[in-house]
């Protein structure tokens, strides 16, 4: 009798801690972290690298819904005893969500493009044609595809930006990734470039802005348009690097 054994006294404390960890709060944490991961990918601009803008509302709305589910779970009032997701499910989910939060996507566009078939543009062409100096790289590729005769464009001023895409057996192209849904379906479109001889060779995946003129060149007995660059400026990767 008298004072209870200290070991016995600490037991309720420990079991309380364990109970706090299991399984409701863990589930709330897992749901909350997934919600935060989705919202954070939207707010931080990571989503611009992964998904076309038209799908972004789906992602942030899902993030909010998951936070709501986490709040419901955390309140404990409505906890559904009939369906307790296992502690391991919650723990693994927490791990996965933390990894998504902690490791931002940093794809190598050149590496991705090397694994994809280029020039898969299906669009028949532009509905209207911008003045040469205002055309983006994608505009140029679409135009050249719909009307490929290089003589039509020889001497036109060019101001484009893109990433450096190494091409086997020739000089690197300047390219962009076209995306219809997400990074998974990205396909590269590129323009051949005659790089200025007095400048160092561009590094793969480097983002550049080029100024120059369109020229006609013959490769393998076939004429094609290429950009003769007079000015090459390194630029940071644009906020929205994927093109629709």
């Amino acid at each position: 009798m008298g004072q209870p054994d200290p070991a016995l006294r600490s037991r309720p404390q420990r079991s309380l801690t364990l109970r706090r960890l299991a399984p409701g709060p863990l589930k709330a944490l897992a749901l909350g972290l997934w919600g935060v991961a989705l919202l954070q990918s939207y707010l931080s601009g990571r989503l611009d690298l992964l998904l076309r803008a038209v799908f972004h509302p789906l992602v942030w709305a899902s993030g909010l819904l998951l936070l709501l589910l986490a709040a419901v779970e955390l309140s404990g009032r409505w906890r559904d005893a009939s369906r307790t997701s296992g502690r391991w499910t919650s723990l693994l989910s927490i791990g996965a969500a933390l990894a998504v939060l902690a490791l931002p996507p940093r794809p190598s566009f050149a590496d991705l493009a090397a694994n994809r078939q280029a020039n898969l543009l299906e669009e028949p062409g532009l509905s209207f044609v911008l003045p040469p100096a205002q055309r983006s790289l994608t505009d140029w590729v679409r135009l050249l595809r719909s009307e490929p005769d290089p003589r039509l464009y020889a001497g036109d001023p060019v101001r484009i930006s893109g990433f450096v895409l190494p091409i086997e057996g020739e000089e690197p192209h300047l390219a962009r990734l076209l995306v219809r849904c997400c990074l998974v379906d990205a396909v590269p479109v590129g323009l051949p470039v005659r790089w200025p001889p007095d400048q160092p060779r561009p590094r793969p995946d480097e983002w550049l802005r080029l100024e120059g003129v369109m020229v006609s060149e013959t490769i393998g007995g076939r004429q094609r348009s290429a950009v003769k660059a007079s000015r090459v400026v390194p630029i940071p990767r644009p906020r929205q690097p994927l093109e629709p």
């Binding site: 989705l38 419901v72 009939s82 919650s90 694994n115």
Partner: protein, 342 residues
């Protein structure tokens, strides 16, 4: 201060995989995240729909009233896609709900396999991607129904215990009339008391549960499926980075090979059925029409990302059977289309 430090760690060299000289790994990680953030909202939509169904009709009487006829069952399951639009990830929780509530198995399978195509969102996106190819807009849903009927018929040949996951089967038995459960399957005697007590509240009761409880249930379901989705996306991203896509589209002109290669591509790429038509548009000109259709038909039924999700419904043997049979039917449909159109 701590936040600043953490942010600088995230955004700079320490965790930048490219600096570690593992560019390929960094690209794989980005592809994984792209697949995940694309699919997760659709998974959540599916969980929301199944939760809504649980809230509106807790006893699931309408589910058990669905036809059990071998042909009408899968057809009515497929038609449910129009009422419950979700892509293939979202369909898994809904199909699970149908099975738990005692829907005829063929009907639930019909829904699982055909509804990812037979829903307004997917048909609209197919039309938007291929407005000048009306045959595709008709062939895609027709093919999906054909595959669903074939798979449902085939999988019904397996006994329930070899088809459905044990946990699902146990939940399902609680929703079935006692007369439909054999004596050996009744673990809790003849009075129909809930077995194991794991699922009694939801499955047994026809009283509308509080909304908060339905949300809590949905949360648990989401976590379970999200984990499987993570695994599927990881595998799909890894395979995509390792296998050059040119290999898969290079044989575009050859009728049979093009179908096989695009079937393989649909297994690997694993994008949701609501957006896959836009992806198919990208290589439609390089491959045969049968191959494009095969891509649009097989992806919604089976892909690397789905294998994990299916494991919550079906036993491994049934998943293998589904993959094999779906591939065969899709190949035949693709061949037939090529025969007509080429």
């Amino acid at each position: 201060m701590l936040l600043e430090r953490w942010r600088s760690l995230l955004d700079h060299r320490f965790l930048d995989l490219r600096v570690m000289g593992v560019e390929r790994l960094a690209t794989t990680w980005a592809l994984f995240q792209a697949l995940l953030v694309e699919a997760m909202p659709f998974l959540l939509i599916g969980v929301a729909l199944s939760s809504l169904a649980r809230w509106i009709s807790p006893g699931g009487k309408w589910v058990r009233a669905l036809p059990a006829h071998p042909l009408l069952g899968p057809l009515s399951g497929a038609a449910l896609g129009f009422a419950l639009p979700a892509c293939e990830c979202g369909n898994v929780p809904m199909a699970r709900h149908l099975l738990v509530k005692g829907a005829p198995i063929a009907t639930a399978l019909g829904f699982l396999f055909a509804a990812p195509v037979l829903n307004p969102i997917v048909l609209a996106s197919t039309w938007a991607a291929f407005p000048d190819q009306p045959w595709l807009l008709a062939a895609r849903p027709l093919g999906a129904v054909l595959i669903a009927v074939a798979l449902a018929t085939l999988l019904r040949l397996l006994p329930d215990s070899q088809l459905l996951q044990p946990a699902l089967l146990e939940e399902r038995r609680l929703s079935q009339p006692l007369a439909e459960v054999t004596l050996l399957e009744r673990r809790s005697g003849l009075i129909g008391a809930p077995a194991g007590g794991a699922t009694s509240v939801v499955a047994g009761s026809s009283r509308r549960p509080p909304l908060g409880q339905v949300l809590s249930h949905g949360g648990a379901e989401f976590l379970e499926l999200a984990l499987l989705l993570v695994m599927g996306c990881a595998i799909a991203a890894l395979v995509q980075t390792l296998v050059p896509r040119q290999w898969l589209i290079a044989v575009g002109g050859a009728p049979t090979l093009s179908i096989l290669s695009l079937m393989l591509l649909s297994l690997v790429v694993s994008v949701c059925s609501s957006v896959d038509a836009f992806l198919a548009l990208g290589f439609a000109a390089q491959v045969t029409p049968g191959a494009v259709l095969a891509f649009l038909l097989l992806g919604p039924v089976m892909d690397l990302k789905l294998v994990g999700l299916f494991s919550i419904l079906l036993r491994p043997r049934a998943i293998l059977l589904t993959a094999g049979a779906a591939s065969l039917v899709v190949l035949l449909i693709g061949q037939w289309v090529n025969l007509i159109l080429l």
